[in-house]
């Protein structure tokens, strides 16, 4: 069973344009879905679902969002946390103001609210680029978080400022948020939403809109000369990216922590998501998942490894090691492989296609 396309002739452009043109990849994807949908909920412990799988899914979604803006459209943003916070607070306001609103609708509308904010903060991108744009998004980051913390309307005038996400069901009594929701229900809901949104993102980046983003990223002057409207294209990237980040923020608050607080979406969160797409791969949907998985799992692996090897290392040392590993990896990927793990995976597959006869 070699990994290659021999004998699999593409008879139509439709087949050639499929997301997984090679059969082995299709089988692989089916297996991943089977594990995610069947094995995980059945065999995964509550701990595993709640502290690893759900944050992994939420991070993946946020990383897809940032990757659309930064990896595909080339607009560097440090405001990811703020756009996530927009989604989280919008979801809170929507679910409390309209208790009968279906949770799916509430989440999507939260994404739309974040998209609107994203468009406003994307406006400077017409005039400024790169580092200066990053500074402008940094302003959005600090301003929005400050706003959510200072204006009591956002927290429905709660005294403590920390509010918990209200319980909501998808249908009937099937609760997915709040205290009644089982980890399995929350996990499966997140999984489905993230899988669908990831598929839509993949479709966009392989269509005309995705090519327009990449054209702006690669050479904005040439892009305009072939008919791309720079502002509109950049704003579409800001809007769709912020939509994804907003939904991710709402999922974070409602499905992962259960509380809505601005502190969860500070500048560190923005950097964390940025690290994910750098390590996972700029301009790759798969890379968003790889980067998120890596950053969620690394601290866990690092904290378990010394125990398993019987090495007496203090937790303080471990967290230092963690920072060092991240730093090294980010420098490595930025310098050596800007397309991250996703690219390494591609190279591996290309090699595999030729293996065992490399010539």
């Amino acid at each position: 069973m070699f990994y290659r396309e021999a004998g699999q002739f593409k008879v139509s452009y439709a087949a050639d344009q499929a997301i997984f043109p090679i059969r082995q990849d299709q089988i692989g994807m089916a297996m991943i879905l089977a594990v995610a949908y069947v094995v995980m909920p059945v065999a995964g412990s509550e701990y595993w679902l709640e502290t690893i799988m759900i944050p992994f899914l939420v991070f993946s979604l946020a990383a897809i969002g940032l990757n659309i803006l930064t990896g595909y459209a080339g607009q560097l943003s440090l405001g990811t946390g703020a756009f996530m916070a927009c989604g989280a607070f919008a979801a809170y306001k929507l679910t409390t103001a309209f208790p009968d609103l279906n949770i799916i609708v509430a989440l999507l509308l939260s994404g739309v609210a974040a998209a609107a904010v994203g468009i406003v903060f994307g406006l400077p991108s017409l005039r400024i680029k790169g580092f200066y744009l990053a500074v402008a998004t940094l302003a959005a980051q600090f301003f929005l978080i400050w706003l959510f913390a200072k204006v009591p309307w956002f927290t429905n005038y709660s005294a403590s400022g920390v509010i918990s996400a209200p319980p909501r069901a998808v249908v009937g009594e099937l609760y997915v948020t709040g205290v009644h929701a089982t980890p399995q229900a929350r996990y499966l809901f997140c999984l489905t939403l993230v899988a669908v949104l990831a598929l839509l993102a993949k479709n966009m980046v392989r269509s005309s809109i995705g090519r327009q983003w990449m054209a702006i990223r690669d050479m904005d002057i040439a892009a305009e000369i072939i008919g791309i409207r720079p502002l509109r294209t950049k704003l579409s990237a800001f809007a769709i990216s912020s939509f994804y980040c907003g939904v991710a923020g709402a999922l974070w608050a409602f499905f992962y922590t259960g509380t809505v607080e601005p502190g969860a979406f500070d500048i560190n969160r923005s950097f964390q998501i940025l690290y994910m797409i750098i390590i996972g791969g700029l301009g790759s949907i798969l890379g968003a998942f790889l980067g998120a998985g890596f950053i969620v799992l690394l601290p866990i692996v690092l904290s378990r490894l010394p125990l398993m090897l019987g090495l007496p290392i203090s937790t303080a040392t471990i967290s230092h090691i963690e920072v060092m590993v991240f730093g090294t990896l980010i420098v490595f990927f930025l310098i050596v492989e800007p397309h991250g793990l996703a690219r390494l995976w591609r190279i591996f597959k290309e090699k595999l296609r030729l293996w065992p006869f490399p010539y």
């Binding site: 452009y13 439709a14 344009q17 966009m204 005309s208 995705g210 990449m214």
Partner: protein
């Protein structure tokens, strides 16, 4: 009806130079103290191949940049398809059927050959983004229909083997070809080529000449090109405009321009041929 169609289609031998497509009228362009273009007027007629020649820094590229809205001249007007235009952006020129290539290749380096050419086709693609996100029905059909068109361009330019290669990895000559493909994908009425053969070897130049002539003959595309190789210019162009220090020295058929004393002293004399 069929006969009429035939009569109207210019085929290889009966390519007729038609009406004025583009009129450049007393254009002047300054960069601070530098006068890149000085009171330039000329016309481009339908279906013709116009060559713009002149020494380095003569203002040739600036002229193309003015035509496609990238530079805004301080004086003069441009009339395209009978409409005198005011200040416009490059994407508006693209929407009106003006496509171009650059002196220094301006491809989308991170994208494959196919994606570059598909991007050149974007003005013909109209599905809203949410249909593209669903990649379903009309959106998928549109994608496939345009893929077919782009594959025809790929066949025409003989670049099938590099279809999926990221263009950043291609050699210079092939990049020039892909850039031409991206411009062709828009099915332009007016194609502006800035030194399409610069830096190519003889064989590559011959290929490029053949492509330019074929585009002009088969699709009736009007072409304005900048070229330094006088042999090529004399061979393929219907008319030549000579610029020097931002001024127009001569304008006419290749033979008469070649023997124009002003041109000989300004340009041909300086080491060329």
């Amino acid at each position: 009806m069929a006969a009429l169609d035939q009569a109207e289609t210019p085929d290889a031998d009966t390519r007729e130079i038609g009406d004025v497509l583009l009129r450049v009228d007393r254009i002047s362009l300054y960069f601070g103290g530098v006068r890149a273009l000085n009171n330039i007027s000329f016309e481009v007629r339908e279906h013709e191949i116009l060559a713009i020649i002149g020494p380095n820094g003569a203002g040739k590229s600036s002229m193309l940049n003015v035509i496609n809205g990238f530079y805004h001249p301080q004086e003069g007007t441009i009339t395209y398809r009978g409409k005198t235009r005011s200040r416009m952006r490059p994407y508006q020129a693209a929407a009106q059927g003006i496509a171009r290539t650059f002196q220094n290749i301006a491809l989308f380096k991170g994208m494959s050959t196919l994606d570059n050419i598909m991007t050149g086709r974007l003005l013909k693609m109209h599905q809203p983004f949410w249909m593209q996100a669903l990649y379903w029905g009309p959106a998928q059909r549109e994608e496939i229909e345009h893929r077919k068109f782009c594959e025809e361009i790929i066949d025409f330019l003989e670049i099938q083997h590099i279809r999926k290669t990221p263009v950043g990895r291609l050699p210079y000559g092939l990049q020039k070809r892909v850039e031409l493909g991206r411009a062709l994908a828009a099915q332009p009425t007016l194609l502006l080529l800035d030194e399409p053969m610069a830096g190519m070897n003889v064989e590559e130049k011959e290929d490029m000449c053949r492509f330019i002539l074929d585009i002009n003959e088969e699709f009736g595309t009007t072409i304005a090109l900048i070229e330094h190789d006088m042999g090529v210019v004399m061979d393929i162009s219907d008319r030549v405009v000579v610029l020097d220090y931002g001024r127009k020295l001569a304008d006419g058929p290749p033979d008469s321009v070649r023997s124009d004393p002003a041109v000989v002293s300004a340009y041909l004399g300086v080491g060329h041929d």
